[in-house]
């Protein structure tokens, strides 16, 4: 090998040395360097034969990923058109330049006779959709008539004819005013303009930009290269609205241009542009670009050095770093001009000049020596900006004013919660703020509503009630649990039979699975202990011990007469007995079975001074105690005899915990008041058989230890210190991981191991966290309690929290969306439907599997492959009326009839057409209608299994099919835009209806009164029975592929790529609940027949099944508690 390696090395050296030479000298080089080694020489010659001199081979720019996405598009190299080539009425004269979208030519127009600049769009980019957009935009651009803007004469497409008479169809182009001049920066330098002259030019550019903005056109790509200055000194902006016409937002720009081209544009992009959210880009993004241009013209450099950075790095700099102040570049620019540029370049678009005219105005004021409008940032603002960047506030930016008001009001609460929410922060929250405000406004209208004792007031009152419920729902989204509960339960009790509050509560419990809540008297409540295996927990109070059923939260018995308050409790795992340390210094064993027989540990106090901690071993045989006498003692729980006593620490041990195998005990002192901050104390692990010190872990003496526990698997010891440090010690490897407890303000009060894992649950102040070696994370299902937590215990898959004010809750640890789901498909799920009797659910995965699932238990009954070999998916599943047979509309364009009883494919009905995107039954049950990827539609007769191909073929794939309830009309939707109405009898289209966006799914209400169309933009358009447009619902943030009505027509559901599902009241068209999936984009939604369940197949590998009766069980578990609270509140003076 080494000899071989040496040879390779040598060949490489010679190759590299020789390849640098001109090729005619290669041979002499080889001879010289190979020293007669002919093997080496021939190896080098062979390699040189493949030398890539021009660096063409393996060009990363040739790697196009879009064909894997779009399947079709490929960039053709842009050929240069020869002079004389005609495109429509334009004749090409010469090439002006080449850009990202195509080349620009000087061309002659016939009528009117003039010379124009003709932008010829790259052929690879010309598609139907692009052409349509051009035609639409042309009209808008034509309206821009300003001396500072190069006029766009025409945008469109025309056949291209080469001089030798060859013609090609439809070449898209933009014809615009031909501007002869220099780019803005070059002009300034060429003419050697002074600062004032440069500023005057910028002000004129501002005027032109403003003109366009007033007409609703944003440039999006302003840069000196796009602003030419004619010799006369008039600036003209090129390519206005072109970026828009081609829909070139930042994300697409990244995609379509090479990285080199992007870098030319990047310095002028605003922070919101580099974020890549096209929705955030507005006229103020152009103002930012103007600021950059101004900066560049004045200083000769860019505000941010992006050329030397990688793109992600450059984007980060633009988003986060302040540019060098103008005044720091040159003292010449101190004062107002610095202020103007800074304001134009503000990262926050709300703080920028709100229009180009404002910027131009201030420039002119500055030139005229008048005071400018921009103010320097106030000290307070700067301070606040530095103090904290509330993530959510930034997100809510779009909601501008509302968010600002809300910001002030919520800042204090939010600061505490920020860290917890940050991970989940999303637009839903921003939206919630806006809606909350709307709710507030509606509430304020209450008085008005009351005053008008007529139908209008009824309507307002109804809106008000809705607003109240909605407010509660949104408080839940925001994590304001007490507020959410107050609002929702108030509405629930007020309108016993109304569906909105009930649904809002279902949503609440879906997010926060509180199995039950009870309130015990907070007076004298001291401690809690948990016996998970026995399903019980104990509360210790001044008056005695209460035993509670952990599954429902009701009191089972009370043990009183202990003679003193119960300070500390420990209970055996089987709940057969408990030990209580009493205020009088005694420790008592209480038999919890039978007659509550009590026995004292010793006739006298077991420790000198007070008892500070007790713990029971997992096997229940040993009791450990510690006291103010600084000893730790071990007792036999059967005989109550003292087995050992020793000084575990120089301090008093405040924390005791047994290992799960009952062989080891951890002891630790609590926080102390020592002044010496460096003083150490230790958490110590003792072997119980001989009291050997196994390990010790240093902690600061001042902080001490507030809680400690072993993990269930006995691999990890968790120690929480008073200095808010959480240390996880691996008992096998001695590895330590340490986390700062940054949540809440108080120390960790309780640690409880999670079953079956090394994880721990912690109670910190008012929240519950899950701790593992890799870090701390909040337990989302618990949410924020406004009460201080005293103790927590894990029971099954739930945690019981005991709050100091007597609130006790049992909360499911696993989020609801993971509790009810169809088992792992390891890929996306596609079609899904319930059987007509509701007992069965069928789900098709992207992995070629169809599963037949018990709808109640979600246990899989059958799994079978769609095709024997290969992989196939089925986007649509439809049961055949009155049978156990269902049809699967498959990726190969065939329908497969499958049996839900035997779990297999019964027959295949091929079509030869591409994939079935949509499939629906006709209302009479006679046909299955399929919509294919190629735009064809087929009617399959269920009786004969023969199909009829409809004569009219749509341009693109058919994504949605629906029928009016009488079966007379069919509605189709798809990528072709709009929806088509068909006469089912004649099988012909009778009408086509415009929708507000590109539609995906359609659904017709069972009574035929409503037609819904979901779109790519997350909108649902609502039409009435005459197909007249009624309203559009902003339902989701992204495409809505899933849309269905419940059978009774009272509800409909939408499922979106934003990974959520919404349930709507079909009558009021209002959201009843917004439910999360396991983080997967939703593909199909389906109600079961009685709408007690909703299945949402999604991209999370699971199909989520929302089980509403189960959510109602949570409702029941909390209702009594909430009823008492509501009653108490309304009884209290000053209640609402």
């Amino acid at each position: 090998m080494s000899e071989q390696g040496g040879k390779q090395q040598k060949a490489e050296e010679v190759f590299l040395a020789v390849s640098d030479l001109p090729s005619e000298r290669w041979e002499s080089g080889i001879v010289r360097m190979c020293n007669g080694d002919t093997e080496l020489a021939s190896e080098v010659r062979s390699l040189l034969g493949f030398h890539d001199k021009e660096d063409k081979f393996l060009d990363p720019n040739e790697l196009m990923a879009q064909s894997l996405v779009f399947g079709r598009v490929r960039m053709a190299p842009d050929e240069e058109l020869t002079p004389g080539t005609k495109i429509g009425v334009y004749t090409i004269r010469s090439l002006l330049g080449v850009g990202g979208m195509g080349s620009v030519y000087v061309a002659e127009q016939e009528r009117p006779r003039r010379t124009v600049a003709l932008k010829v769009i790259r052929r690879g980019l010309s598609t139907q959709s692009l052409l349509r957009r051009f035609e639409h935009e042309a009209e808008v651009l034509g309206r821009l008539q300003h001396p500072g803007i190069a006029q766009v004469f025409e945008a469109g497409a025309a056949p291209l004819v080469t001089p030798d008479g060859l013609s090609r169809d439809s070449q898209p182009f933009i014809a615009m005013e031909l501007v002869r001049g220099l780019p803005l920066n070059k002009f300034c330098d060429h003419k050697d303009l002074d600062t004032k002259e440069r500023l005057r030019l910028v002000a004129r550019v501002c005027d032109a930009v403003h003109h366009a903005h007033q007409r609703g056109v944003i440039h999006r790509d302003l840069k000196p290269g796009n602003i030419l200055v004619e010799d006369s000194g008039s600036p003209k902006i090129l390519d206005f609205g072109v970026a828009r016409a081609a829909d070139v937002d930042m994300r697409v720009t990244t995609m379509q241009t090479s990285i080199g081209q992007l870098i030319g544009t990047l310095p002028y992009m605003s922070p919101e542009q580099v974020l890549g959210d096209p929705g955030e880009i507005d006229t103020r993004s152009d103002v930012y670009a103007l600021g950059v241009i101004m900066y560049q013209l004045l200083t000769g450099r860019l505000p941010h050095d992006v050329a030397s950075r990688s793109i992600p790095e450059a984007a980060r700099v633009i988003r986060e770093e302040s540019p060098t102040k103008l005044s720091h570049v040159s003292r010449m620019f101190r004062g107002e001009i610095d202020t103007i540029v800074s304001k134009a370049l503000d990262k926050d678009k709300r703080r920028r000049y709100q229009s180009a005219a404002d910027l131009g105005d201030d420039i002119r004021r500055y030139l005229a020596g008048e005071p400018i409008h921009a103010k320097q940032d106030s000290a307070l603002y700067v301070l606040r900006k530095q103090l904290k960047r509330y993530k959510w506030a930034a997100i809510a930016a779009g909601v501008a004013l509302i968010a600002l008001v809300a910001f002030t009001a919520y800042a204090t609460v939010q600061a505490r919660r920020e860290r917890r929410l940050a991970a989940e922060a999303n637009m839903e929250r921003a939206f919630a703020f806006a809606a909350k405000d709307a709710a507030e406004v509606a509430r304020q209208k209450e008085e008005t509503a009351r005053a008008l004792a007529d139908s209008a007031s009824m309507r307002l009152a109804e809106q008000l009630e809705y607003a109240r419920t909605e407010r509660g729902r949104l408080e839940g989204v925001l994590g304001n649990i007490p507020l959410a509960e107050d609002s929702l339960w108030h509405q629930y009790f007020k309108h016993e039979n109304a569906s909105a509050p009930k649904w809002a509560l279902r949503e609440f419990f879906h997010r926060y699975p509180y199995e039950w809540s009870v309130q015990v008297s907070p007076n004298g409540l001291r401690c809690a202990a948990f016996a998970p295996q026995a399903g019980l927990f104990l509360l210790g109070a001044n008056s005695g011990i209460g035993v509670y059923d952990a599954s429902v939260g009701v009191s089972k018995r009370r043990i009183t007469g202990l003679g003193s308050g119960v300070a500390i409790l420990a209970v055996s795992a089987d709940a057969s007995r408990c030990f209580a340390a009493l205020d009088n210094g005694r420790i008592v064993r209480v038999n919890l079975r039978g007659d509550a027989e009590c026995a004292l540990l010793t006739p006298y106090a077991p420790h000198l001074g007070a008892v500070r901690a007790i713990a029971l071993s997992a096997d229940g045989l040993l009791l450990a105690t510690s006291g103010n006498d600084r000893t730790v003692r071990i007792w036999d729980t059967e005989t109550l005899e003292l087995k050992a006593t020793w000084s575990a620490h120089p301090e008093v041990a405040m924390v005791l915990a047994f290992s799960p195998d009952s062989r080891a005990l951890v002891t630790a002192p609590g926080p102390s008041s020592v002044q010496d901050l460096s003083a150490r104390s230790h958490a110590r692990v003792w072997r119980l058989s001989d009291l050997a010190l196994l390990r010790e872990y240093p902690v600061t003496a001042r902080g001490g230890v507030t809680a400690a526990a072993f993990s269930q698997d006995n691999t990890t010891l968790v120690v929480a210190t008073g200095q808010r440090q959480l240390n996880l010690y691996n008992l096998e490897t001695s590895a330590v991981s340490s986390h700062e407890v940054t949540a809440g303000t108080s120390a960790v009060s309780s640690v409880s191991p999670l079953q079956g894992s090394g994880a721990q649950l912690l109670a910190i102040g008012d929240s519950v966290w899950e701790a593992t070696v890799s870090g701390l994370r909040p337990l989302p299902s618990v949410g924020l309690q406004s009460q201080l937590l005293m103790s927590l215990g894990v029971v099954d898959d739930s945690v019981i929290i005991v709050c100091r004010d007597g609130l006790i809750r049992r909360i499911a640890v696993t989020p609801e969306y993971r509790r009810s789901r169809v088992a792992d498909f390891d890929t996306w799920c596609f079609g899904t439907e319930f059987s007509p009797d509701g007992a069965t659910l069928v789900v098709a995965g992207g992995n070629n599997e169809i599963r037949v699932v018990d709808a109640a238990t979600l246990q899989t009954r059958h799994t079978f492959p769609i095709v024997e070999r290969g992989i196939m998916r089925a986007r649509a599943i439809r049961f055949i009326d009155g049978s156990d047979v269902f049809a699967a509309g498959c990726g190969d364009g065939a329908i497969r009839m499958c049996s839900a009883v035997s779990g297999r494919v019964l027959s295949v009905l091929p079509t030869g057409a591409p994939e079935i995107y949509s499939m629906e039954r006709t209302p009479d049950g006679e046909f299955l209608v399929t919509g294919h990827a190629d735009g064809t539609i087929r009617f399959f007769s269920i009786a004969t299994c023969e199909y009829e191909l409809l004569p009219v073929r749509l341009q693109r794939r058919v994504e949605g099919i629906a029928f009016t309830p009488d079966g007379s009309q069919m509605i189709t939707s798809g990528l072709f835009g709009g929806i088509q109405i068909w006469d089912v009898r004649t099988r012909e289209t009778v009408a086509s209806v415009e929708t507000s966006g590109i539609p995906w799914a359609v659904a017709c209400s069972p009574d035929g009164s409503r037609l819904l169309v979901s779109t790519y933009d997350g909108v649902v358009d609502v039409f009435d029975s005459t197909y007249a447009f009624m309203t559009r619902l902003r339902a989701h943030r992204r495409l809505i592929p899933g849309l269905c009505f419940s059978q009774d027509g009272s509800l409909f559901a939408t499922g979106s790529e934003d990974t959520t599902v919404r349930i709507w009241d079909a009558k009021t068209l209002r959201t009843l609940a917004s439910l999360e999936t396991d983080g997967g984009e939703v593909i199909t939604v389906a109600f079961n027949p009685d709408a007690s369940r909703l299945a949402a197949s999604n991209a999370s590998r699971f199909t989520t099944v929302y089980d509403f009766p189960r959510l109602d069980a949570y409702l029941t578990g909390n209702a009594a508690f909430q009823k008492r609270r509501a009653d108490a509140q309304s009884a209290a003076p000053g209640a609402r």
């Binding site: 992207g846 992204r1038 396991d1078």
Partner: protein
């Protein structure tokens, strides 16, 4: 699936999680690198899917730009060392290579009509069957095999090609990622290309980019 918190790929991944994983990779945790690849792979596919969802037909999508976009999305603005960046881009290059090669294989199958026409499980791989194979560039399936051989011959050369070709890094960036000088990278790249080109020729697929150059040379 391992339910270790912080690494659940079915949850939207936060930049901090990614930096955490990158940190662990840097510290030599082998499990961490196993987590990184699927994460990047998922993100690339998710991105591809989201572009499919938007159906921005007519826009081209450069593979390497997709990698950079994935970087921006997964790491947000978080500053990571070049070391970690290198790990990221290595994983991204590997993921991109797999995606593209898988697709090229898939295409070949369709083209040769070996199986009944069918649709792949993953929407990111849905090829339009009507579309002829228009990949005039490099035969990725053959390149994949050649790269495997190059890796056996010299691991680092293979890394250089991966980072440059599949992740679109510049020489300087590759140099920073691999901790060697730019000059070395330039040399490795020049040599590796000749080596690979020869390998492709042996496999009967001459790299298109070189065909002209060589015929001129020999004439």
């Amino acid at each position: 699936m391992a339910d270790a918190p912080g690494i659940q790929t079915n949850f939207p991944t936060s930049p901090h999680q990614v930096t955490q994983i990158l940190g662990a990779v840097k510290d030599g945790d082998p499990r961490a690198s196993e987590q990184l690849l699927p994460l990047v792979y998922d993100e690339l596919r998710r991105l591809a899917r989201s572009y499919m969802g938007k159906e921005k037909e007519g826009q081209t999508l450069q593979a390497t730009a997709l990698v950079h976009e994935a970087y921006m999305r997964l790491l947000g603005g978080i500053e990571v060392s070049w070391d970690s960046r290198g790990h990221f881009f290595s994983a991204a290059a590997m993921a991109m290579r797999r995606i593209l090669v898988e697709r090229a294989r898939h295409r070949k199958r369709i083209k040769h009509g070996g199986e009944m026409q069918r649709v792949d499980a993953d929407p990111a791989h849905v090829a339009d069957p009507a579309e002829p194979d228009k990949d005039a560039g490099t035969d990725l399936v053959a390149l994949d095999e050649a790269l495997n051989k190059l890796g056996e011959y010299d691991r680092r050369k293979c890394d250089v090609v991966m980072l440059k070709y599949f992740a679109g890094l510049t020489n300087d960036e590759v140099a920073a990622a691999l901790g060697v000088s730019s000059a070395t990278i330039r040399n490795e790249w020049t040599f590796a290309k000749a080596w690979l080109a020869r390998e492709l020729k042996k496999a009967g697929v001459a790299p298109a980019a070189l065909v002209n150059a060589r015929s001129e040379g020999s004439a």
